[in-house]
């Protein structure tokens, strides 16, 4: 029973961290219509950024600044945002798919840097022995994990409410206006490139923050945590729940990560050991099918975006509804 509870806490921490990433992607794709094909790259930048800032000083490494965890988290998020700025500046004034291609490139390049720039990233071995925030205040590591879960849920909650406020603000309305019709938005005197850049950089920074939270949880960072499949998983999570809706995004994380974990478990049970890696591609095939089938059959996802009407019109409609005599 305890084993199951321990696993559940672990599962939920990962789910919450992914939910933060999905919310970042939702800001980019769901609300602004920007295709990010290198989600894992921004997540990795955040993770390595945090790891380098908080890590212990080692002679062989450039990093290891022994900063407090919060500083590391912010630093990772800022680094990811800066990477978003570089690709955004290059591509956001061009046709939309250039952003997709450039972000795909970031994903691959970060993986290479992580593997090859040994002095900064520890190469294939990664950076180990990173301090976990407030770990020494807990006697039992299970209690610590539970506390960490509460912590990441709080952070996810703050991001959720901040994003909800942001997308309902005038700024959020411009995002959707640009997504629906750039020309119309521009004719109203809005600057689509600048607004898109803001949304893209903010979304990238949120993904970086998720990376930092992951590092704080597992206490090390290595290239195998940042395989390209993660980008596809995050995308599947976003569209299954319904892009343009943060609650849908969170539901999608539970559904997709559930499918992924369960299919991995069954493959582990059924397939003989020598064929595990080969059969593991079934998991990726499922993710690919989820993406393509959702796009074809239910592009709105499970929940989908709420119909947006102006609050004025909604009020009028409600009043008209109330006035109507009961049948």
């Amino acid at each position: 029973m305890l084993g199951l509870a321990v696993y559940l806490v672990f599962f939920l921490i990962v789910v919450t961290i992914y939910a933060i990433m999905v919310m970042g992607l939702n800001l980019q794709w769901g609300f602004t219509g920007l295709f990010n094909a290198g989600v894992v790259g921004f997540y990795a930048i955040g993770a390595y950024g945090t790891a380098i800032l908080i890590g212990p000083d080692r002679a062989a490494l450039i990093g290891g600044f022994e900063m407090p965890f919060v500083v590391g988290l912010l630093g990772g998020a800022i680094a990811a945002g800066a990477a978003g700025l570089v690709v955004g500046l290059a591509t956001l004034r061009l046709r939309e798919e250039y952003l997709a291609i450039a972000t795909f490139g970031i994903g691959i390049t970060i993986q290479l840097v992580a593997l090859n720039f040994d002095a900064l990233t520890g190469g294939a071995n990664g950076l180990i022995g990173l301090p976990r925030p407030y770990f020494d205040r807990f006697a039992v590591s299970n209690a610590y994990n539970l506390a960490y879960l509460v912590g990441v849920i709080l952070i996810a909650g703050v991001i959720y409410f901040a994003l909800e406020r942001a997308v309902q603000s005038p700024w959020g309305r411009i995002l959707r206006a640009i997504r629906e019709d750039v020309t119309a938005a521009r004719s109203l005197g809005k600057n689509p490139t600048l607004i898109r850049l803001q949304a893209f950089v903010l979304g990238s920074a949120i993904m970086g923050l998720a990376g930092g939270l992951y590092v704080g949880f597992i206490g090390f960072v290595s290239p195998i945590d940042f395989l390209p499949i993660l980008t596809f998983q995050i995308w599947a999570m976003l569209i299954v729940g319904g892009s343009g809706n943060n609650r849908g995004a969170i539901l999608g994380v539970l559904v997709v990560w559930g499918i992924w974990t369960a299919s991995g478990y069954f493959i582990g049970q059924i397939v003989p050991p020598g064929y595990q890696s080969q059969a593991g591609s079934i998991q990726a095939i499922l993710i690919g099918l989820v993406i393509v089938m959702t796009l074809l059959l239910r592009p709105r996802g499970l929940i989908g975006e709420e119909e947006s009407v102006s609050s004025h019109a909604r009020k009028q409609a409600q009043q008209a509804y109330k006035k109507k005599p009961a049948p």
């Binding site: 094909a37 939309e96 997709a100 291609i101 490139g105 970031i106 593997l115 591609s281 690919g288 074809l296």
Partner: protein, 300 residues
């Protein structure tokens, strides 16, 4: 230096073959097809599958490591790759065209890329393989230049195919229709060009070239399920460098990317070689997003 030039030309020739198909898709079908490079993986592995299933002998042809069975298998692989491309178009892209924003097609192709790659991985396993186990000794052409016969074959075949595609697009009525749709779809349709036919032939030409490029990559490097995944970025860089929709541009772009990659190894650690196309891409997008030769539809 000379060696880097030769290696770069070889890689560049393979990039060029892949980039032609990609630039046609981006110019005519008007979306960045993330699944294009996976068609190279598919083609390369289909040729391997034909060799394995039919137990064809791999007796070498002259100084090459492979014999006529691989050439035959390549033809079959082309057919199977075209079939896959048409199937995907019929199942997915056709249902989306003109109905949803074109970014949804990009998204769908992104998912399809994952599907193809992992189906190949599931069938053939993840280990690197080769068409033959024949060893080939590089011939010393000049004091500091060694070339393998396979590489000469690859380069010659690529040149022949590039010329053939160019003639096809310039000289035949079908090629003219394809260029017309690439320039201006509405105007082409008004003038009686069948859009469905042009779309079909775009997949046929692109798919067949992708399969050949995949096989040639398998011959000169190795076969891995991630083959296409690693080629996608150089292909996109080649297409954008040459100008989206511009076939000559794609060829020049492909060769240039190959050369830049190959020469970069003289300066930077080889581990970063894969990042070079990305840097070139960023520079092009910052300085001249329409590419060297100007595209038909991309750019702005």
């Amino acid at each position: 230096m000379l060696q880097a030039l030769a290696d770069g030309l070889l890689t560049g020739a393979i990039y060029a073959l892949g980039a032609i198909g990609l630039t046609l898709t981006m110019g005519i079908l008007r979306f960045a097809n993330f699944a294009h490079a996976e068609m190279m993986t598919w083609g390369a592995y289909m040729a391997l599958g034909v060799l394995t299933v039919f137990g064809l002998p791999t007796a070498p042809l002259g100084p090459l490591t492979f014999g006529w069975p691989l050439l035959l298998a390549t033809v079959v692989a082309c057919a199977l790759t075209v079939a896959l491309a048409l199937l995907i178009d019929w199942l997915v892209f056709r249902r989306m065209r003109d109905r949803v924003g074109h970014l949804t097609l990009v998204f769908a192709s992104f998912g399809i890329a994952l599907l193809i790659r992992n189906v190949v991985h599931l069938i053939f396993g993840g280990r690197a393989t080769y068409y033959t186990t024949e060893l080939q000794i590089a011939v010393r052409v000049l004091p500091d230049l060694r070339i393998m016969p396979d590489q000469v074959f690859t380069l010659s075949l690529a040149v022949v195919l590039v010329i053939a595609v160019h003639q096809f697009l310039q000289r035949t009525p079908l090629g003219l229709s394809m260029r017309a749709v690439s320039e201006n779809p509405s105007l082409a349709v008004i003038n009686g060009v069948s859009l469905a036919r042009v779309v079909r032939w775009t997949w046929i030409v692109g798919g067949a070239l992708a399969a050949v490029a995949g096989v040639l990559y398998g011959v000169t490097v190795q076969l891995r399920p991630e083959l296409g995944f690693h080629l996608l970025l150089p292909l996109f860089a080649a297409v954008i460098l040459g100008g989206v929709g511009n076939v000559v541009g794609a060829v020049v772009g492909g060769v240039l990317i190959g050369l830049i990659e190959s020469f970069s190894v003289l300066v930077i650690p080889p581990g970063y070689k894969l990042a070079i196309p990305f840097l070139v891409l960023l520079v092009v997008l910052y300085l001249k997003p329409t590419g060297l030769f100007g595209g038909t539809s991309g750019g702005r």
